[in-house]
Subunit: 127 residues, 4 copies
């Protein structure tokens, strides 16, 4: 279910957090579902438990999960509210990029055609 890229520049703990987010968006993980335990996931990913722990802490901060000591780590019931907020932040980042691209002289059409391709790309949730 999880897979990490050791060569990537994004930290392992962030990869785990991002991947979990995507598993929620793709419906694999649903509200109140329990995440794999720190130990089992660290064994599966062949990473240190502390790294997984940090990923779960990060997810807690993001409002994606609620971790209950001694019981486990659970997807929050209101996870989609948190994801909405994160999407808004990503939209702002997209706008920043867009301004840079415009400044480089790229025409509006180049961007809109790319975006339309993505949105007309059917139902695949390729993340």
């Amino acid at each position: 279910m999880y897979q990490i890229d050791a060569m990537s520049r994004t930290p392992v703990y962030e990869q785990i957090a991002d991947m979990t987010e995507k598993l929620v968006l793709s419906g694999v993980l649903k509200p109140n579902d329990m995440l794999p335990s720190v130990r089992s996931l660290s064994a599966e990913l062949k990473t240190n438990p502390n790294t997984v722990q940090k990923a779960f802490t990060e997810l807690d901060f993001r409002g994606i999960v609620r971790t209950v000591p001694g019981r486990g780590c659970f997807i929050r019931p209101d996870v989609f509210d948190a994801l909405k907020k994160r999407a808004a932040a990503k939209l702002a980042e997209l706008c920043r990029l867009c301004r840079e691209i415009r400044a480089a002289g790229v025409p509006l059409e180049d961007i809109t055609t790319e975006i339309n391709k993505i949105y007309n790309g059917g139902e695949e949730n390729g993340l």
Copy 2:
């Protein structure tokens, strides 16, 4: 001409490189222009000379400048080709973000209206 934000989380050397790029796009720096020397720029920005040096190396890597040992650092004649390629890379990054935003359930209109706002924002090159 240059200004860095010490509180920003983007590395100072990257800020310098990005700013130089924008000075080219806004026409302040033109092909074959010479950049300030490492020593003068580091004095102006109150940073470590190593940091400025690293920024110049980064710009060299990006294809923006050509460093001539003993003479200085010059904007490449073909700088706009390099900038086109970098814009293309940014477009790809934008698409990646766009896919994530789509996965979060944000409608296409939210994105296109934002982008249109940017492209209809007149001639200002506010970078």
Copy 3:
């Protein structure tokens, strides 16, 4: 009678102990009353018997109950003395918080109005 919040960060055994205290304060449990057995309560709350056992040990420590091996767990005759002592400890904790709030520059009125609201809130014992 009892109800636990699995998502809460306060340990389950503490939730059980706190709730028992409140049942005494609200008059539902009176001195010399017997508490439900560990087994029956753990079944009702769908928790581990060890957890309920730990809650009872905690209540014993607090001076709320007296556990008689082989017979059961009883509210102490002098339970209200123990509750008085605990209220005093809570008052000390409140003072600690109050000092912190004062240090943050919050005016006295903000605190007293909040407290008056609570004490003028009628007879409801909503705990």
Copy 4:
């Protein structure tokens, strides 16, 4: 300047974070001041650098500091806004305690006299 209590139940990293907050409230640390480095503070407190690191991360989350990789950890210019918000949260916690104390039959006067003592206690910032 810093001192930790190894026997306390509050984690060391939290003690460090709380202490830093109090140093701001007492005026010892001011906006834009730099905190001691992870290494120096860990040496001073005889703790592991990772523990101090975690404290700084916590302070970042609280909005107290801004940590800039390669440069250091600085008190935010708007630190007092963050402290105001934290004080509001503490006031809510105080109200929760107050309700419990009221339920235990403690009269309003007992609380208000204690609080008045604190607020009339002169200028000492005893934290």
